[in-house]
């Protein structure tokens, strides 16, 4: 066993212990895993008879969900772009500002969107606007950090060229950095948009409107066939966004 070092055995024991503890914590049971007859029955009963008459209403709700995800992330992108220049080591004006903004972004990012959502639903009332704000703030912090890292790893050459022609600091940075990182920015953006659609569904469940709210309402009133209809619509929506994102990314890069 020449490949195995003593150290590995220690790691293996530690990981095995962690697995066992996690199994206990999550009430894992092998019989529960294997016996899915109830689940299959549930799917067979409810997905077989989708409530097509609900479609117009559910489509409207899915537009709300999409709007929340799109506006929330797009507005976040518009704010994150300038913020990232302040949050990147090579473009911020002062070290204090750089550390301050980076720390602030970390702080905001550490708050889960659902917590933002609960706060805004409580303070602003039920509805998609609370979900919109939750997604917006979280994504400013996520995109701000991701784009700042792109700015930091960008090629310094064009920046030097813009300095040497005497361009203004910020204008020079925008021209020399943004075109380089643009494909990656869009890539991050589409990923965040896809994530935001899922988040927007979850936020709907706590009162943020849209398809998520319909879903939880059907669930709470045992209208499982209607719930199944909503789930199918969710899957279609996520797949469409995924495919569109892929196409756009390919075109830009």
């Amino acid at each position: 066993m020449v490949w195995i070092r003593k150290r590995f055995i220690v790691y293996a024991v530690l990981i095995a212990a962690a697995l066992v503890l996690s199994g206990i914590g999550s009430e894992f049971s092998l019989s529960g895993l294997l016996d899915q007859s109830n689940t299959i029955d549930f799917i067979r009963e409810n997905f077989a008879s989708l409530q097509w008459n609900l479609m117009p209403y559910l489509l409207e709700q899915s537009l709300i969900t999409l709007s929340v995800a799109f506006l929330g992330t797009f507005a976040a992108l518009l704010i994150a772009l300038p913020v990232s220049l302040l949050a990147a080591e090579n473009t911020s004006r002062s070290r204090a500002g750089f550390y301050g903004i980076r720390s602030f972004l970390s702080l905001v990012r550490s708050i889960p969107e659902i917590v933002f959502g609960l706060v805004f639903v409580a303070s602003l009332g039920l509805g998609p606007f609370a979900a919109l704000l939750a997604i917006f703030f979280h994504n400013v912090s996520v995109l701000g950090k991701l784009i700042a890292e792109l700015v930091e790893s960008s090629d310094k050459g064009p920046q030097e060229a813009m300095m040497s022609v005497g361009a203004g600091r910020r204008a020079g940075q925008i021209f020399s950095i943004l075109p380089q990182i643009w494909p990656n920015v869009l890539s991050h953006y589409f990923y965040r948009f896809e994530v935001a659609i899922r988040t927007s569904l979850v936020l709907g469940m706590i009162g943020g409107g849209g398809l998520g709210q319909s879903l939880i309402n059907y669930y709470n009133s045992f209208a499982y066939e209607s719930m199944a209809t909503a789930i199918v619509l969710i899957m279609v929506m996520v797949i469409i966004v995924d495919v569109t994102g892929g196409i756009v990314r390919k075109r830009v890069i």
Binding site: A161, V165, G166, R169, A171
Partner: protein, 250 residues
């Protein structure tokens, strides 16, 4: 020499990058006159890039002074430095063009130092500026590529865009930091012919780093040799001999 003729003057100029490290430039004293074509020779690490970069304030001095176009670079505000840089064109070994922009768009960026930032960001250029940009594109022989993205050019073409971007500044001095080091010998020769022509047409003061002695001797009026940050040769190509070459490349 009158003040008019004196374009650049370095006095006891030293650059030290890190405390305790050997200076990258040691007590350099030299004067550049209006209309000279200078090549800077030296081994890798001799301080050629550092020297070039002190002239447009990309690299500040630790000791001594550098005067460019009758201004001491040490005392200038950020805005004044920008205005000096706007009058000095620079080309680079790796071209440093803006990716994703077209050839013509890249040339426009050469005007940035002469204009307010908001106009640069909005991309508002006068008819005259458009004419100037196209004029220099045709001077470097790339007018037909104006709309092409710069990524799709060859190395030699990219350097021509770099030169057009520098020329559209209508600079008083043109600097080159090893502009042909990434190009093949024939293309290098063409680039130097172009630099020489631009220099002769408008008496443009030109200072270019090269590591190829042949190129320097063929095109320069004056050669400056650096060795470990020190000025070890300053004279005409004809004044170079085995011994002086030895002092540069020992």
């Amino acid at each position: 020499m009158t003040e008019e003729q004196k374009v650049i003057q370095l006095a006891d100029a030293s650059v030290i990058y890190e405390e305790g490290a050997d200076p990258a430039l040691k007590n350099i004293n030299l004067t550049v006159k209006q209309g000279e074509f200078i090549c800077v020779l030296g081994r890798s690490g001799a301080g050629k890039s550092t020297f070039i970069r002190t002239i447009n304030a990309l690299q500040p001095l630790q000791e001594g002074s550098v005067q460019v176009l009758n201004k001491d670079l040490a005392g200038l505000s950020e805005k004044q430095i920008r205005s000096v840089r706007a009058d000095i064109g620079m080309i680079f070994q790796h071209f440093h063009l803006i990716p994703r922009l077209s050839v013509l768009q890249n040339v426009y960026t050469g005007r940035f130092g002469h204009r307010p930032s908001w106009k640069n960001l909005l991309g508002i250029f006068s008819d005259q500026e458009k004419e100037t940009a196209e004029h220099y594109l045709s001077e470097v022989g790339l007018l037909e590529y104006a709309g092409r993205r710069v990524e799709r050019l060859s190395g030699g073409q990219k350097q021509r865009v770099g030169i057009a971007r520098a020329m559209v500044q209508e600079p008083a001095v043109l600097l080159g930091d090893e502009p042909v080091a990434s190009l093949d010998p024939t293309t290098s020769d063409h680039i130097f012919q172009l630099l020489r022509r631009l220099h002769e047409d408008r008496d443009l003061t030109t200072i270019v780093n090269v590591h190829d002695v042949e190129l320097a001797s063929a095109y320069a009026d004056r050669i400056i040799g650096l060795y470990e940050g020190e000025l070890v040769f300053d004279g005409k190509p004809g004044d170079m001999n085995q011994r002086t070459l030895q002092s540069i490349y020992r």
